[in-house]
């Protein structure tokens, strides 16, 4: 029996669930807003590297990417577990880790497309990739979307309140604690992604609190561990009734 990591039918169902009417509206609104802000800032202030870093770091990477990650990551599995229709999927002869991996690939793809592409365009609008800032943030957004998707997909299998839990991590931990407690920044997907951006951009253009080797190890570790544990959770999933 061959072992697949990608199942096209599961992928198609996940993709359609994610880009259903209303979810897609939010997924399109966020990047559109980023582009509008980028265009408005460029018109108001002209091309400026410092401004570009503020918009891409403060809005795109700190707010937009985690939110898209929460919507895509938890949305890839949460609603199915929530309304119980996941039993029909689990009853099929498809390995549960395959289901998780497929859903992760779709969630990552959706997050990456909806966050990295607009980040690149916004960066080009803001300063035309001067000091490689646009490319640096684009790669940071793409890498962060892999880790966020894995984390939030795991949350979707662990708790019924996955969206709230994901938002607590993204808002309270990364934004609030991250700005108050320096140690909290070491355990932040955003900072790990920033350390990559720091390496790619011209020296001094982007700064991160985490060194690159640590960041890469943590990013890979969190992604693999979260995916493995999500597969385990799905293997032993018990369906709870509506509270």
């Amino acid at each position: 029996m061959h072992h697949r990591i990608y199942h096209p039918t599961v992928a198609r169902l996940t993709y359609r669930g994610l880009l259903g009417r209303r979810r897609a509206a939010v997924l399109f609104t966020l990047p559109a807003l980023l582009l509008v802000i980028a265009a408005a800032v460029r018109l108001l202030t002209g091309a400026d590297d410092d401004t570009a870093t503020k918009v891409l770091g403060g809005f795109a990477l700190a707010t937009m990417v985690p939110l898209i990650g929460v919507i895509a990551g938890t949305g890839a599995i949460g609603p199915e577990i929530d309304d119980g229709s996941v039993v029909y999927l689990l009853a099929k002869p498809v390995k549960r880790p395959t289901i998780i991996l497929t859903k992760l690939l779709v969630a990552t793809g959706v997050t990456a497309v909806f966050s990295a592409v607009p980040t690149l365009i916004a960066g080009l609008i803001l300063n035309g990739n001067s000091q490689r800032i646009a490319v640096a943030y684009t790669i940071a957004a793409a890498v962060a979307s892999v880790a966020y998707s894995a984390l939030f997909l795991l949350l979707g299998t662990v708790t019924r309140h996955a969206v709230v839990a994901g938002l607590v991590y993204a808002l309270i931990w990364e934004s609030l604690f991250g700005s108050l407690v320096p140690g909290a920044r070491t355990l932040s997907v955003q900072q790990w992604a920033l350390s990559l951006a720091e390496r790619i951009a011209a020296p001094g253009a982007v700064s991160s609190d985490v060194g690159l080797p640590v960041a890469v190890v943590l990013l890979a570790g969190v992604t693999v561990a979260a995916t493995w544990y999500a597969g385990e959770k799905l293997r032993k999933l018990t369906l709870a009734g509506e509270e």
Partner: protein, 299 residues
């Protein structure tokens, strides 16, 4: 009481199995509306629901009150002459907690009714569409007011215990209450409108938080850039585009608050009037949209 059988119906009826109509008092529309309000308000703190659904709202209430208690304790022990945090600033500082509470409870208030199709059951009772919308809106606004006013009360009681000036503290406390009342109405309206769009609870949560954080993130980013460029006039107007900065603008203009905008460049009285009008328009608009949403009872 015997089955009511009249001579005429006795001939028509094949079997009289003794069904009786309800003849007790009927409490009417006003009572139903009040009941819906109080049950929704209790539900917003998980009262009358499972223990698991109490965890989140109660935790958020505790998180909301804890800093106030700490501030008061510090102010009393170190004998400060004034509280280190203004009453009007408190909600702005803890906006993430308020946002999470709204995002978790607004869908709870409306999405489940939509998802389990209980809306037609409500409307089979003597309540109208306006009663349902008003009761849900009032319940969520009251819940938010409890969440935001409780820490202010702790600050106020603490300030009086620390023997800070009674008149000044009372005035500042009253201004803080007006501000959080406005915030509660505004946030409850926006949260319900977004949550009522979808029968999926999880998606409602994400959509509500997206509206709050994305708008605030966008506004504060652009404000920061304007501040760095010394473009201070724009900062005051940019606040019009996110809910929490709207409240900040109104209280800066009318409630003696210090603005949390970059450099404290809040709107003056003239611009503050625009802020107030926008807030009131948003509250009225939320109500109108909710009324429109429930025009069709099914879904």
């Amino acid at each position: 009481m015997p089955p009511e059988t009249t001579a005429a119906s006795a001939q028509d009826v094949i079997h009289n199995i003794g069904y009786r109509p309800y003849t007790g008092p009927r409490l009417g529309r006003g009572y139903a509306r009040r009941a819906l309000w109080s049950q929704s308000l209790r539900g917003a703190y998980g009262l009358g629901r499972s223990a698991k659904s109490k965890v989140l709202p109660m935790t958020l209430l505790a998180v909301m009150c804890a800093p106030a208690a700490i501030i008061v304790a510090v102010a009393i022990t170190t004998k400060m002459n004034d509280l280190p945090v203004e009453y009007t600033r408190y909600a702005i500082l803890l906006q993430a907690v308020i946002g999470l509470y709204l995002a978790s409870q607004a869908p709870q208030a409306v999405s489940r009714d939509l998802r389990f199709r209980t809306i037609p059951l409500y409307f089979s009772r003597p309540i109208e569409r306006v009663d349902y919308v008003l009761a849900k809106y009032a319940a969520l606004a009251s819940a938010l007011f409890l969440l935001t006013a409780a820490p202010l009360l702790i600050l106020y009681v603490g300030a009086l215990l620390a023997k800070l000036g009674f008149a000044a503290q009372t005035k500042a406390f009253a201004q803080g209450l007006v501000s959080v009342a406005l915030l509660s109405l505004l946030f409850a309206g926006l949260g319900l409108v977004v949550a009522a769009l979808t029968p999926r609870r999880g998606f409602g949560v994400a959509a509500v938080i997206a509206v709050l954080t994305i708008s605030f993130g966008a506004v504060s980013t652009v404000q920061g850039i304007a501040y760095a460029r010394d473009n201070t006039d724009v900062i005051g107007w940019l606040g019009l585009f996110s809910p929490i900065t709207l409240v900040d603008g109104v209280q800066t203009a009318f409630l003696d608050a210090t603005s949390s905008f970059p450099g404290g460049n809040g709107p003056g009285t003239g611009a503050g009037l625009v802020y107030l009008l926008v807030v009131l328009a948003l509250i009225a608009g939320s109500y109108a949209l909710l009324m429109r949403r429930y025009r069709k009872a099914g879904l």
